[in-house]
């Protein structure tokens, strides 16, 4: 049971990573990256590493995601004007 869940989680993680790189739209890529970060948080808790899970959710997905979203927000705003 645990094995099947781990395998599915690993595949979902790799799929989200692949889509992050391959998606043509940069906004969507950032959203997929945040999804990737949340999946990675799950992986860390599966690996009995709650400290890393907390840090990944807060820093990896949260702060990095916010930084990236802000960056594309700026880029888009500038492009229009």
């Amino acid at each position: 049971m645990g094995f099947a869940f781990d395998l599915l989680l690993a595949l979902a993680l790799l799929w989200s990573a692949w889509r992050t790189l391959a998606t043509p739209d940069i906004f969507r890529a950032v959203i997929l990256f945040i999804v990737f970060g949340l999946l990675l948080t799950l992986v860390w808790s599966r690996l009995a590493a709650p400290d890393i899970a907390l840090a990944e959710a807060a820093i990896g997905a949260g702060l990095t995601g916010a930084l990236l979203l802000d960056a594309i927000g700026v880029l888009r705003g500038r492009k229009k004007s």
Binding site: D51, L54, A55, L67, V74
Partner: protein, 211 residues
């Protein structure tokens, strides 16, 4: 052509390395046992925090240096960007931020306190503090930061400076960052508490100086 070659190379590398991972002997050195044996002397009850701030505290000291350095570069580069107009105030988001920010402050204090004996610690607490600041900014309740004044600079550097001061002070008695077992818990708590504030400011600064 280049695209195809790099992709092929990466795929071959991944397959070969995975094959190499499937048949490994047991490691020769058993560090978890060593950590367990010295836990009582570390002054901390949670193994990951003990490694992070005591056994390998020197890594953490340099890592805070990396973070401060990144902030200095962000400051130097972003200072020339023209100031952006304040974000559009969204009443729903504002209400949410007003409720969430104090709760996040509480969560940060809890995480800092919890780090001594369960998952948590200065990094997670600092990240939550930073997230609160970012949320307030996005809701239009806090402005983006301009050039930092004296107070803000001291706040940004305080955690690193306290860490450095403790590391240097302990050299009088023994090695770098060699906590006397009786004082270890108190000194680590002092470092963690100032680090939480500074990390919160630095992580928030990475966002607020840029935007």
């Amino acid at each position: 052509m280049k695209r195809f070659a790099v992709a092929l190379l990466a795929a071959l590398f991944a397959v070969a390395l995975i094959a190499a991972l499937l048949e490994l002997p047991a490691p020769a050195v058993d560090l978890p046992a060593a950590v367990g044996a010295k836990m009582a002397e570390s002054g901390i009850a949670h193994p990951v925090t003990a490694v992070l701030l005591n056994f390998r505290g020197y890594d953490t000291l340099l890592e805070i240096g990396v973070l401060l350095l990144a902030l200095i570069v962000v400051l130097a580069v972003a200072a020339r960007e023209e100031a952006k107009q304040p974000a559009v105030a969204d009443p729903v988001l504002q209400t949410l931020a007003r409720i969430a920010a104090p709760l996040m402050l509480l969560a940060a204090v809890y995480l800092l306190w919890a780090g001594a004996f369960r998952p948590g610690g200065a990094f997670q607490a600092g990240a939550v503090l930073a997230a609160a600041a970012v949320l307030l900014h996005l809701a239009g309740l806090a402005a983006a930061w301009q050039k930092p004044g004296k107070c803000l600079r001291i706040g940004l550097a305080a955690g690193f400076l306290v860490f450095l001061a403790v590391a240097a002070g302990l050299l009088v008695e023994g090695a770098l960052l060699q906590y006397p077992p009786a004082w270890a818990g108190a000194l680590i708590l002092l470092i963690e508490a100032t680090l939480t504030v500074s990390l919160g400011l630095i992580l928030a600064g990475l966002f607020l100086f840029l935007s």
